[in-house]
């Protein structure tokens, strides 16, 4: 299992043909208490860099961008009743959706954990 990060503060964790996507712990900290997540629908096609999900917090409604192109397997069903999972466990149980990848080579353009940490430290 490998985890990659984007400059827009999404993470994608790849295992075999599928991957899980979420926002980073840094991102949830910036957003504050999450109140609602508008998830992409199962079967929806998502395009790298394009918005496909909206996270509402007490401060703002923020777009989440697809880290890679592919097809949504499903949204995280737990978030319907417990959007706070994104706050408490952003990079695990608070994932947003799972998906299949159209082109795994797109991952090469993303950051690994060390690079992302360095990127965040520079913000």
């Amino acid at each position: 299992m490998a985890v990659y990060f984007t400059k827009e503060h999404e993470w994608i964790s790849v295992e075999g043909d599928t991957a899980r996507v979420g926002i980073t712990d840094y991102a949830q900290g910036q957003l504050g208490d999450i109140t609602f997540v508008e998830l992409p629908e199962a079967g929806a096609g998502v395009t790298q860099g394009k918005s496909c999900c909206v996270v509402d917090s007490v401060k703002a409604a923020s777009d989440v961008y697809a880290p890679v192109t592919g097809t949504v397997v499903s949204g995280n069903p737990s978030l319907e009743d417990e959007p706070e999972l994104v706050n408490t466990d952003a990079e695990n149980a608070g994932f947003l959706w799972s998906m299949t990848l159209a082109d795994p080579a797109q991952l090469d353009g993303l950051m690994d954990e060390a690079a992302y940490k360095e990127y965040v430290a520079g913000l």
Binding site: T35, F36, V58, K59, A60
Partner: protein
């Protein structure tokens, strides 16, 4: 019935979570600070405050199966009970008539009583939109005069008076732009919006069927001209720029952007929500703007916020005017002002109108107030409005920049609003703490966490309404709160402490809202 209040609070309980003893009074009132239960808890169900005929009228036969079988669950109050209920609630409210209302981007300013009086004159207040035109010549003349002054003040060519608020005006402007492109057989798909624009701009463009592309700003809080110029092309229908922008800054390069936009065959939409900072000083038409809405309820001081109606006329350039919506007013050869509707559009040379924004002619009550505001101020007065609004905002900015981080302080004078960030507050202290602290000081909080381009934004728009003495009070309060947040005064995190209610759990309210009263006692 004591468990009916969804918050669980009852008179006499004191404030939940503040550790303070329950109110020492039997009623829960604190002196003349009055507590009030929900209206459903006050009334007797089925009670009635009106003396109806004893014999109920026969129900209409046409109601059939729709005839209500059970009584309506409405509280029955006597007239004094109902009056007191709402008067008591109003005493817990805050209003521009009580003090400064520093909400950035909202332009909450004093509504002169003269304008209110004019709006209440029966000839304006009691007209009906379906009255024959012959009976409302004066009202139509007011619309026409206001239209003239809006065009004059903005240096534009025409104006659509019907849009009902700012965002409605944005939509009207973009529909004009769409109609203009379509008339040329040019199907463009993209609208460019800078980060410093109002949040409604991208929403409007999307609603009008365009694809929105965001253009990043520069480090000094303005639009990035080169980024704009680089993105322009045959697919771009329009750009939407807020000027002055939401960072409180004047977009100095608007003329240059407009020239580039026009050269690329596109149009410039300007969000004129902040026009009060430049009225009488700058004519947007001279800057190359093709369409701009004016929030009458902001710049021309008509009551808004908490339910007052808006009004968002859109001034249009010569290129867009032919596509403006119906109806509109026009003075004809007989010297009378007429409302031009569909049947007259052709003969009045307005056959290309894209349609209508509203059923009727617009917000009459706002028109009368706005015209009274313009005429009573005069040219010198309107210029002073802009000067005082800008002066007051700069006074706030410069009075506080040593205790609050002002990210664009070096970008020159601000316009109508002063923008601060949460940088420099002690660890664990946030913009929200400062805002809640203002409630304890007896002020309405400023706009918080907007614009998004600034971390923990605090946006203060004092408007021209405030005197120096009033500003000094406000600045003094905000300075004291900023110092408490910088030094890590833990008590600030529990603010407000002196308001009728303590800090609300906004997260819980958003996650599990309870919006309707339920008779849980059965």
């Amino acid at each position: 019935m004591n468990d009916m209040n969804p918050s669980g609070w009852r008179p006499g309980m004191g404030n939940a979570g503040d550790g303070a003893p329950a109110s020492p009074t039997f009623t829960g009132n604190r002196g003349l600070q009055l507590e009030e239960a929900l209206i459903f808890e006050l009334g007797r169900m089925g009670g009635c405050g009106v003396d109806f005929d004893e014999e109920a009228p026969e129900p209409m036969a046409t109601l059939g199966q729709h005839l209500r079988a059970a009584p309506v669950a409405l509280p029955g109050l006597s007239e004094p009970e109902a009056v007191r209920h709402y008067t008591r609630l109003s005493r817990q409210n805050y209003a521009i008539d009580l003090g400064i209302f520093p909400l950035g981007s909202c332009t909450m300013k004093h509504n002169p009583r003269l304008d209110e009086r004019v709006a209440r004159m029966p000839g304006f207040a009691d007209v009906h939109p379906l009255q024959p035109q012959e009976t409302v010549r004066g009202a139509l003349d007011v619309i026409n005069q206001l239209a003239f002054w809006l065009v004059e003040l903005t240096g534009m060519h025409g104006v659509a008076m019907t849009p009902k608020a700012g965002a409605h005006g944005e939509l009207c402007g973009l529909l004009c732009i769409r109609a203009a492109h379509e008339a040329k057989g040019d199907a463009r798909e993209v609208v460019l919006v800078p980060e410093s624009a109002h949040g409604t701009n991208p929403a409007t463009a999307a609603f009008a069927g365009y694809r929105v592309e965001s253009i990043p700003g520069t480090a000094d809080g303005r639009v990035d001209v080169t980024a704009f110029e680089a993105r322009l092309g045959p697919d771009v229908a329009a750009v939407m720029i807020t000027n002055p922008n939401t960072c409180g800054l004047f977009e100095r390069d608007l003329r240059r952007i407009a020239d580039a936009v026009h050269a690329a065959g596109a149009y410039v939409y300007c969000d004129g929500a902040n026009f009060n900072a430049i009225v009488g000083k700058v004519r947007p038409g001279d800057l190359g703007v093709d369409a701009m809405h004016i929030n009458l309820h902001k710049t021309f001081s008509t009551p808004h916020g908490g339910g007052g109606p808006g009004s968002g006329p859109v001034v249009l350039s010569e290129a867009l005017s032919p596509f403006g919506p119906l109806p509109f007013t026009a003075k004809t050869a007989d010297g009378m002002v007429h409302l031009v509707e569909e049947e007259d559009a052709q003969t009045m040379g307005h056959a290309q109108a894209f349609g209508r924004m509203a059923a009727f002619h617009g917000q009459m009550g706002m028109f009368t107030r706005a015209l009274a505001y313009i005429l009573s101020h005069g040219a010198d007065g309107l210029r002073q409005v802009a000067e005082d609004a800008v002066l007051n905002a700069n006074y706030v900015l410069r009075s506080l920049e040593d205790v609050l981080d002002a990210p664009f302080a070096a970008s020159g004078p601000c316009m109508h609003e002063a923008l601060f960030s949460d940088h420099g507050l002690a660890e664990g202290f946030s913009t929200l703490d400062v805002a809640k602290g203002l409630i304890d000081e007896g002020f309405h909080p400023m706009t918080v966490y907007f614009p998004l381009v600034v971390h923990g934004a605090m946006l203060v728009e004092p408007t021209e309404t405030e005197s120096k003495a009033g500003l000094d009070q406000f600045v003094g309060a905000l300075r004291s709160l900023a110092e408490r947040a910088r030094s890590g005064d833990e008590a600030l995190k529990t603010a407000p402490c002196l308001a009728p209610r303590r800090r609300l759990d906004e997260t819980l309210a958003a996650r599990k809202p309870r919006l309707a009263w339920k008779d849980e006692a059965g």
